[in-house]
Every structure is written in structure tokens, then in C-alpha cells.
Amino acid sequence: MLARAVPCRPCRLTNARLAHTLRTYKEDPRWPGWEVIVGIEVHAQIKSRTKLFSDALTSDPGVSHNAHVSAFDAAFPGTLPRLNPICVDLALRTAIALKSDVQRRSTFDRKHYFYSDLPAGYQITQRYEPIARGGVLHLSSSEIAVGIEQIQLEQDTGKSTFDARHRVSTIDLSRAGTGLMEIVSQPDMRSPEEAAEYVRSLQALLRSVGSSDGNMEQGSLRCDVNVSVNKPGQSPGTRCEIKNLNSVRFMMAAIASEVFRHISVLKSGESVSQETRGFDEDSGVTFRLRSKEDAPDYRYMPDPNLPPLLLDTTRIERIREAMPELPDETRARLQILGLSRRDIDVLTSIDSGWEVGYNGEIGKGATAYFDALSVGRDPKVVVNWMTHELLGQLTIRRKTFRENPLSLEQMGSLIDLVQNGVITGSSGKTLLRHMLDHPSSEMPIELAGQLSLLALQEGDSLDQLCAEAIAALPEEAEAVRRGNVKVLNKLTGRVMKSSRGTADALSARKALERLLIPGGANS
């Protein structure tokens, strides 16, 4: 396992070599005799209410074109940037979560190119002095640690779409100027699966600290992947960058496709040339966008409007002290509560789709619901009700956890009614289904009364149901009297059925024994 105790400052190449030599080669049946090296640049949109350098609102997917655009976003003359401190705080949370070394001084630079979705003709980024350097992300399944090279703040671009039929380009600047965190990994991954786990773990981490939705499908998290292939024991091969992958599945397919392409180039005796490639989602193969020779000169320049970002210890410590719980910490805590790995997986996977609040407000997902329900209750009982009953019934109804209509008070009270024997377990399940189908603010105890689901207590009403069962099934009753106790199950079942679940099975069995076998109930 690769542990990175010291934040890395040296250049990318040195670290690539270092990482390369530290991982032992493991043969992959898909490409025996070849080693694959993967590094990933992730662009994660910062979930701040307003943009990185302007007061315009950020946009959720589906916002109409150019709804959130300020004069600055459209690069009007005379406008100036103003750094949004919330974006800085959220980047700091991310850096701390990735054990990255927050830089006391970072600077902003302009990266120049002409494109219609970039109105100023440059993007403000942190080329020379990023906000954080180094760091590590542990992947629990692969059991590896992926080094983080650096985290930088930058502006997102607008969107331009080409309408081929009308031959018109449409430009939408709602996204232009939204804050991004560019998170650059070390080339520490050795397979498409490790790459996938890295991205998923990073998504979970960003959501847990509330810094990004991390949603690839909606474009709030985008990946550029660097892939190279070499013979084990030899130095890394020439890398190619695959740009703009917008799902984990496509990213894995793109890496595999690129690995096969490199191998076939190398096998034919040629050498791989360094280039930037795209991925065709229909054919599942990568294609060349531009070669190294065609690489644009971005004419990086320190931004003369933005003074260096100076972060004092007080500010960094304030963020560190208020850090939300990270995914690893949540798992460890749930394990201590006695939850099974499967239950933990279920809770945390629901949370991974949970929406993150603006400006670092932490989303209230399944784990938070569980935590609140567990106060004063047995966590194992709570997780059973949540995973088996509540989530199961929501799934049957094609609903997500987000659409769960049961308040914490309702769900907690339902669990308590069953635990205290006020209603039976099966009545509890019936009641839950009823509450899902008829959402209301009524408490379970009132509904149980209305639906006659309150448990039959030992005594008259239960005895009466038992007597009816004995009368209805005389042969079975006789068999029990003769000592064949197995037949009791059939009689108990009859009682349960006629009680519509309000009877407790054990109580019913005891009552039947008492009626059929004198002294039997005590044996």
C-alpha cells in the first residue's frame, strides 16, 4: 500500500516514478504482460449559492438559458472580479478532507484562449500557486491510497451548443464563472476499476463535506483521464489524456479502450504519441482530438486584478474544527454501533445520491435519518426497519428515499409501538405501508386505532379467537389433544389469520396449548 505521509511538492514526473516503483505489479487477465497507469483530473463544481467572482446565482440543471448572468460573467468592459469567500471555504473543506497541505498564499492566473463559451477570452485559474498541494484519498475496496497532486480554484465556462439543422450556435452563460475545484491525482491507479473507485470515493467525500454535488451525469463533476501502458518493471509509457468523460461507466470503458489501443500500437513496434483524445460513447472507443504539437499556448499570466489569496491559521482552523463527518469516519462509527457492512453500504449508497445544500450546508440523507432515529433506540432494530421495511417499500413504490413521506417522529413512534408490543410486528409493517400510501401528519398510534391494528392482549378476545379455531378445525384439535404438538402451528395460523395480524403468534400458541392440553401452557 502506498502511504504518502509528506505532502508532495516536487514535479509530477518524480512522483510518477516514485508511485510506479512502489506498487507491485499484479497481472490483469485482460492484458497479461502489461501494466496500466492511470491519473485523473477531476473538475468539481463548487456548490456555492453565487459564482466564484460575481454575485450572479449558480444554476441547477434545467435553469433556462442565460438566466443567471451578471455583467462580469458576460465580460462587459469595466467589470472586475470579486472573490467569493464561500468558494474558498468549501475548497478548504475539500483540501482538509483530502489531507492536502493548504497553502497560506495562493494566486490567480489567466489562461487565454478564444472560444464562444469563454466571453473574457481567458479563464481565471491557479496555474502557478494553487490553494492546496499534496494529499491522499484511501480507496477501501481496492485497499490503495491515491496521492493528490494539487487542488486549484478556477472558473467554469459557459455552454455552447450547435444546432446543426439551423446552423446556429447557442451560448448559455448561466454556468459561466461558477467556481470549480480542479483536483489532480497522482498516477496511482492501475486499472479502470481502481479509477472508478477513486472517482466514486471522491464523489462521496465531496458530498460529505458539502463542497460539490459531484454529479457526473449532470456535469457538476467532470473527469479528464491520463492513461499510459508499459511492460512491468519498465518506466511508464507515453500518456494520453482523454477529455470530458461524463460517467464512471464511460470512464472505465474509455480507459480499457485506450489500454487496448496502446498495446496494439506497442505490439506493432510503433511508439505511442502523446496526445489529447475524446471518447465516442456510441462506439466505445477513443479518438484523437489534437497531438502534442498542436497543443495551444495558453499564455498564462498572473491576474493583475486579484491580489494573492492569503489564508491565516485562524481561518484554516475554523474550517478544520467545523468539518463535517467524512465517509470513512461515518462507516467506522456505524460499524461501532453494530451495523453490518451490508447495512452500512445501503445507508451510505443512498446518501451518495443525496443533494448537497448550498454554501456548505450538509444534506440530511439516510444516515442522518438513521442517526436521529437511533437516539434512545436500538440501532440494529432501527437499521432493520429502515433498510428492510422503509427502503424496501419505497423501492416497490418506485420512490427514492428523498420522497419518504414519514417524518422522524412518525417513523420513531412506529418502531416504538412494535417494540413495546402495542402492535405486532406484522401490524407495524401493515401500518407502514398504509402511511406510505396515505401520507399524513397523523401519528401511528392514532392510525393503528382507526385501522384496528392494536395487538390483541392475552385474555378474553384472544381466547375467543382460539376457541373459534378449535371449533373450526376439530380434527387438528383432537390431534393436539393426543399429543401431536406440531399440529398446533396450523391452529395458530388460523388464529393469526382471523385476527388479521393483531394477535401475537406466541401468545396465540400459548392460549391454544392452555385450552387443549391441561397444564400444557406451563410445560
Binding site: A71, G78, P81, R82, H112, N305
Partner: protein
Amino acid sequence: MLQSCPKLSRSCRRPSLPTFLRGLSTGAELPWQHAVRTKNGFVNAIVHTASTRTNNADGPLNDVTVAVKDNICTADMPTTCASAMLRDFTSPFDATVVRLLQSSGATIVGKTNCDEFGMGSLNINSIHGPVVNPHGATSLEMESARHSAGGSSGGSAAAVAAGMCDAALGTDTGGSTRLPASYCGVVGLKPSYGMISRWGVVSFADSLDCVGVFGKDISSAQRVYDVLSAYDSKDPTAIPEDVRARARGACSEHAATWSSPTSSDLSGLKIGIPQEYFPSTLNPSIISSLRRTIRALQRQGATAIPVSLPNTSYALSAYYIIASAEASSNLARYDGVQYGLHVQRPPDALATDPASIYAHTRTAGFGPEVKKRILLGTYALTADAFDNYFLQAQRLRQLIREDFNRVFIVPDPMAAGPIVPTSAEGVHVLLHPSAICTAPPLEEAARTAGRIDTYVQDVLTVPASLAGLPAVSVPGGSVDESGNGGAGWPVGVSVVGQWGCEEMVMRVGKAIEDVGKESFE
């Protein structure tokens, strides 16, 4: 290559009289309105006239008329930056300085002509045509006798000199306020960098751009500066209040030794004369004019001390690298997509990428001087040139700043770390000629435009810009008959102080103004 400037008299666009001026041409017409009506036709200083008056009758500037350079955004008038690129552009917002003028009751009379995007020293790079220096000019004068008003804020200087307003806003990136002030015989203040908000000021080179203030005298410029000098959270380079207060404190402390509002005694004032500011190209008659000013100040008790700023010779190169690099970046936004000029690409032209489509708009929209600087700046930022040009220029800029810190008695309030104890040897301000010559004739200017010697003039003004220091050009009399060619034309004297020492610089400026008056009397 630079083309000759448009012919003056016929090609210039003349703004029509504003509504509030019509009907006032008889009887109730105020002197400034008379000046606009009678002189702007040939001076060509004002290119858009204000149609509405926002007046705060109780404001501190309620009796002041101000013109605003056409690269400062106004919501109710166009902001063309004298460029074909923005010929029909009106900003959706007012610059902070415009808002401050309005809320303090000033009457904004209109927008003034300038060099395109502030690039030029003669105000001949303008879609509105050149500005004619109003000094001694009449509408009947021959074209050959017309002189430049200087640039790039030539319209603002000329408007004040012609009496069309009491004060005017310009911008100063490398001398664009001080030079036209010198040529036109008015006061031109370039404040310390970061003192006046740049929100709404169209960027030429952000790290150098300052809003400049012109006045018919020191007191009018001071009144306007006092209103505009305020922290603005919309400008990320605005200097915060605590630093301003610290600088004011240091400045007052050092000014207290010689300055008294009630007395003209200057005993204790130490004036540095930087030896590097007297290049061989300096017109001898300008030196004799400066000498007269120094002698007059000495008579009031001031001490003149020769000083050296050894890195001055690098200033010009450093300035043109930094200013052009930033300009190439700042002007990348003019692509004809969101606003401004848009030129359809010819049907047979390449449409492979946005850059090749923008090229048609940018080729048509920018004038030759702007194109030249964009190309220079683009080159300075390329990967191969960046270290040798851009970074080298930044190092020189630091050396120039250190040169100034070594000669001033007032410590640099912007310096990091403990403030170095001030040297008793230090001077309060520096004094030097504002320009190497008087206003050149426009015909000659057009002929020599783009030649390397047209940039040599900047050697006197760019060091203060690179160091972010306050500098004011004050009329220092006019060149006497002994001068060759410039007889009777105004010359300016520049006073430069430590960062934040506007008060000191303006007091010395006032002393120069006063001794000038005495010598005329």
C-alpha cells in the same frame, strides 16, 4: 504600420447640443455652456453630451461641472473608448466614480475624446478624430497651426482648458493624465494606485490603470479627488481603509514640518530633483522653465536636492512589456459576440474555430496602435518569451519601486514587514518636467506617429505608474521666447510623492501654482 490620423476639420463627428443646453444659448447661458457651444466644434473634446442632469443640490460638488473620459462607463451615455469596436456601446451600469460624482451633486457635462482604449500620447488614435489643443486656438486657425492636446486623456484636458468644465476625469496608465495636462496647461493628478475605484473603468492594463483628475487649478482637482478617493468593495485592487489611514497619518506627520495652511513658508520642504529625468531629448527651454519654478520654491524656503533613481532607464521597456501584456489579455473580450462591433465573416472565410471567426471583427474593430500593442503583449506572454520578457519586466518594476523608496523620507505604507526607519536624507517629493517638449503640432504628430521617439516621452511619466505613486502635473508657466518652436505653449511640472501622499503632492502643487501666479503679476 500606423496610418496617419483622420483629417481634422471635416471627418470629426460633432455631438449635437444636449437638450439642456438648447434654448440656453441666449441670456441664461453659463460660461461653460458657452464654451461647449462655441469651442467644442474645433477642439473636439466632448464626444457625447449629457442629456439629463442628476443633481444633489446639497452635495459637496453642487457647483462643479465635470466631463468624463469615454473609457469610463456611464449608463445614460455611450462608452466608446474611441474605438470602432465600441462605437455603439452603452454600458448597463455607471462606474463607481460616476456614481460618486452624481451623488455629490456634480453636473456631468458629457464624455470626452481619448486615444483608443487609452493607448497613445497625442490623442490622435480616435474614431472621433484628434483633439485640438485649445490653448490659444481659434476656430479660424489654419490646420497647420493646430497642436495636439496630448493623450490619451486629451479630451478631458482640453475640455478643462477650454472652460467647458471645471474638472474632468481621465485615466492614467503610463502618463495619460499628466501629459495632456502639461500640453493643455491644466492640473492633472494621477493618484496612488488603488485610491480611486476602477469599477466601470474600461481596463487597458489593470495593474497600472488609475482614474486621473483634471482641474483648472489645484483646488478644483482636489475637491473632485476628495469625493472619489474612497474604498470600493467592487474593486479588488482598492486599498482598504486601514492602509489609507496609515498612509494619511505618515504623510501628515512629514508634511507638518513645513506645510502650514496659513503661511506660504516652505522651510523644511525637501524637493528631490531626479537626475535621470533630464534626457538628451528634453527641450532646453523646458529646463529653464523648471529652473524658474525651483528657484521660486527655494525663495519660499524649500531645499532642492539632487537625487538618483538608477533604474529609471529600464522603466520604459518594463512598462511597454507589462502594459501590452495586460492589454492583450484585457482586450481579448472584444470578440463581437456579447456586445460591440460584430463583423460577419465573408462566405468563403475559414470557420473552423471561434478564433478565426473573431479575427474578422477584431481586424475591423481595433485601430493600428491597439493592434500593435495586442501583438506585442501576446508575444510577451507566449511560453517561450514569458520568462525573458514578462517576468523580467516584473523584476524591473520591483527595482523601480525600490529606487523610489530609497529617496523618499516617508516610508512605504504598502511595504510588507516592519517599516524601515526613514532616512533624514530623504526628500518629501520629487520634481521634474512633465514632458520633454510642449504640445507638438498635429500635422507633425500624425507624421511621426508610431516612430520609436514618440514613446520616449513616456520616460518621464511611466516610473510613477510602475511604482503606483501619486503624481500631479501643474502648469509651470509657458516656454519663453528663447525656446525653439514652443514659444507661448504651456509646460507642466510634475510632483511625485510616496504612495498615499496625495496631500503632500497637492500642497507642493499648490505652492507651484502660487509662485507661478506671483511671477505673472
